[in-house]
């Protein structure tokens, strides 16, 4: 049974060229060759990423300046920022912002606490360790749409057991905004807590054991050890986990789509973008929603990186 290995000290990236290279001219030749090889090897990845994300995003930016419906291609005309004005003055947009924000904040906050508990149990457990790790990966791997159906049917009146078990009679969970959001968030939490708990576990194993021992010897209570030793030492891992989960939750689409289809003000931003672009084929206003959604993500990432100083160098792998 392996635990997660600690990272190699100061990660030894191999020297660019093997030592024992006698002539300087030769070495720079090698360096040039290495640069060319590096560029060639990463070119496909560069190309794919630009073609499939940057280019369509630019295209969305252009489309967003036009009045353009697929159902009326001839009526396409340049309208400047009118689409943005339309979207930003529409209560539907703001309701989607609020819904997305509520789900994001609630699920990330709960997942952080729950995920930390899970990580702690996975860290400390001796007997049944691999069972727990296996079990936790099932929600991680399961299809989100399936999770959404499972939870929806558990709460739905004609099929669910929840009302029977809780003695709620004929209470309709999907009949009002807040109870719907509760069930949506529950499914989201069930499905994604494993991911956050594994990221936290990776941070947890990096907390030096000697520090904990020393604190214990000095008479620190378990609570003090948690807040004064463990948490500060895994701050980077916590921030990275929260950033990734926040942006992931911000994209939420599957759960509201399956559970409520957006009824009772449960439409999220991704859902709104989907509905405008795909269902209504209103590509002008839809693209404005797309661009605005992208901007909200940029703002969130910016806040995390600049304001909370989340250190992403570890994630990016360039240290």
């Amino acid at each position: 049974m392996t635990t997660i290995e600690k990272p190699p000290p100061a990660a030894v990236s191999p020297p660019p060229s093997p030592s024992g290279e006698p002539k300087k001219a030769h070495a720079s030749d090698r360096l040039r060759h290495e640069r060319r090889l590096g560029l060639r090897l990463s070119a496909p990845a560069f190309l794919v990423m630009i073609l499939v994300t940057a280019y369509p995003l630019g295209y969305a930016l252009v489309l967003s300046l036009f009045k353009y419906r697929l159902t009326d291609p001839a009526g396409r005309e340049f309208v400047g920022i009118a689409n943005y004005a339309t979207v930003l003055t529409d209560p539907i947009w703001w309701s989607a912002v609020a819904t997305t924000a509520i789900i994001t904040v609630a699920s990330v906050a709960i997942e952080l606490v729950l995920g930390f508990c899970f990580a702690w149990v996975m860290y400390r457990i001796v007997r049944g360790r691999s069972f727990v790790r296996t079990a936790i990966l099932v929600p991680y791997g399961i299809i989100t749409v399936v999770s959404a159906f499972v939870w929806r049917y558990a709460f739905q009146l004609d099929s669910g057991f929840v009302n029977q078990w809780l003695g709620l009679g004929t209470f309709n969970w999907f009949g009002d905004r807040w109870s719907s959001l509760f069930v949506i968030t529950l499914s989201e939490i069930w499905k994604t807590t494993p991911f956050i708990s594994l990221l936290l576990l990776a941070g947890l194993v990096q907390v030096p054991g000697e520090l904990l021992e020393a604190a214990k010897v000095d008479g620190a209570t378990a609570w003090q050890r948690l807040w004064k030793v463990v948490v500060p030492n895994m701050k980077a891992a916590i921030m990275v986990a929260v950033l990734f989960r926040t942006l992931d939750a911000w994209r939420i689409f599957d759960n509201p789509f399956i559970m409520t289809a957006g009824a009772n003000d449960t439409e999220t931003l991704s859902f709104l973008a989907y509905r405008q672009n795909v269902t209504l084929v209103n590509l002008g206003a839809g693209s404005a929603v797309s661009v605005l959604l992208f901007l909200t993500v940029v703002v969130i990432a910016f806040i995390f990186i600049k304001v909370f100083k989340t250190d992403l160098s570890q994630v990016r792998g360039d240290r």
Partner: protein, 279 residues
């Protein structure tokens, strides 16, 4: 460890059991619904477990072309996208782990940006572009975005694995008389294979799970994957509740996930934790 230690260790096992229940309970519920008769829901007081167990729902979904074609599409698209993504990412990850070249930082930053990218912002333009290119509602139309959005995770995970490979061994083998190809094949490939394989599993999960693009870029059973097909499934007939059939289909598509998790638990955990935080 004394009696005290053993007692604490038992407590951790109890907490572990609770996690087991937490993860497994919804699966039991899913299976329970899948074995219920579709007529169960008429009487109004649903129970947790079926009163009568039946295979009927599985027969229903497997005789439904909508589901079987979706299963084919899902498997084909996920496997092809995984293979392509892993190949493209392998080159990039090797370059990142082993070579000094300009643009390395840019590549890593781009991967980061794409990991954070809201896919929903692309459904409009991709929908329009794919129709223009004639790849709307085709396998390739889904494979292209899938392999792209799987790239960041693949690149991180594999470059983390590649950094841990003792590359000097390749030269050592050559000193011992192996050819460059032999050294690569006999020494490096076996060392790199686990990392590549783990990355492939994580990528497969991503493609198998994807719903937004599948719902946006397909319209018929030509390319519609299981998540999209499930979301549009209305039941064998309009008089029958679709609940049990949807759950039977869900059980079927959850089986590969459970099998992969059972077989490769250790690798998946190592892959997820190394790619994300170790760098």
């Amino acid at each position: 460890m004394g009696v005290d230690g053993r007692k604490t260790s038992n407590w951790w096992t109890v907490w572990g059991l609770l996690i087991l229940v937490w993860a497994g309970f919804p699966l039991v519920w899913m299976a329970s619904l899948a074995f219920k008769s579709p007529e169960t829901f008429r009487d109004g007081v649903p129970t947790f477990l079926p009163t009568e167990w039946t295979w009927q729902n599985f027969r229903t979904v497997f005789s439904d072309e909508l589901f079987t074609s979706a299963l084919r599409n899902s498997a084909g698209i996920a496997v092809i996208a995984t293979v392509l993504s892993v190949i493209v990412a392998m080159f990039a990850a090797y370059a990142i782990a082993r070579l000094a070249f300009p643009g390395k930082k840019l590549l890593l930053s781009m991967a980061l940006a794409i990991a954070m990218f809201p896919q929903a912002a692309l459904v409009g333009p991709l929908f329009n572009m794919w129709r223009g290119l004639g790849i709307y509602d085709t396998w390739i139309g889904l494979i292209i975005p899938y392999l792209t959005f799987a790239l960041p995770l693949s690149i991180w995970t594999m470059s983390a694995f590649f950094r841990q490979i003792p590359w000097e061994m390749e030269q050592a083998a050559q000193v011992d008389g192996a050819t460059a190809w032999q050294a690569f094949r006999k020494v490096i490939v076996p060392l790199a294979a686990p990392g590549v394989f783990t990355t492939a599993i994580l990528t497969f999960f991503f493609c198998w799970n994807e719903f937004l693009l599948a719902a946006s870029l397909t319209s018929t059973d030509r390319a519609r994957t299981v998540p999209a097909a499930l979301s549009f499934f209305t039941g064998a007939s309009q008089f029958q509740s679709p609940v049990t059939a949807v759950m039977a289909a869900s059980v079927v598509v959850t089986i590969p996930v459970v099998v992969l998790v059972l077989l490769f638990q250790r690798r998946i955990v190592a892959g997820l934790t190394s790619g994300a935080v170790k760098g």
